[in-house]
Symmetry: C2
Subunit: 107 residues, 2 copies
């Protein structure tokens, strides 16, 4: 975590609980394309401890512009296409949140 990660995109997804592992694996493939993109800081996948099947994809960016450029890029299209079509159809995007991060405290 660094103060440079000033923009955070949170995609709140839902899948059938038994498909969580498959979805995580799909994100691991995807990560390889995003990780060289200018302004990309980090990608995490969080799984709800209480709501089975609720998964958050949390990506961090230098700024909003970097995120917007990525969303419009070919790299983003390709990474989406990599996800199996049947799995993609089974994922429900419940909410997309954009946050400005600040005040980072780390040990």
């Amino acid at each position: 975590v660094s103060a440079a990660a000033a923009y955070v995109s949170v995609s709140r997804l839902r899948v059938a609980p038994e498909r969580c592992a498959e979805l995580v694996s799909a994100f691991q493939q995807r990560a390889h394309l995003v990780d060289e993109f200018d302004g990309f800081v980090a990608l995490e996948v969080w799984e709800s401890d209480r709501e089975p099947g609720e998964i958050w994809m949390v990506s961090r960016w230098r700024d909003r512009q970097a995120f917007t450029r990525y969303m419009r890029s070919q790299a983003h299209d390709v990474s989406h296409q990599r996800i199996d079509a049947e799995l993609r159809a089974a994922i429900k995007l419940e909410r997309l949140e954009h946050m400005r991060g600040f005040d980072v405290v780390a040990r």
Copy 2:
């Protein structure tokens, strides 16, 4: 960000938009107590880009047990008491989410 941050607590808060700066400042005070707690990894404050007054307090922990121990600790009580009573009363906790983090990719 490190793979050791396996447990994430997200408090989704709401205050009047004009009080956001005051709330962030209160968290900065609070951070000084949590940051030596066993199992604490990081604390961030995220502010919604679209919903004025929506603030997420995101804390990371080595594991769920460390988080639970902190929540029951005197350090937690003291840090809460440090927040001005009038401000505390103006903060609405909309949702508390507990996530297991995995699959961290960072540049």
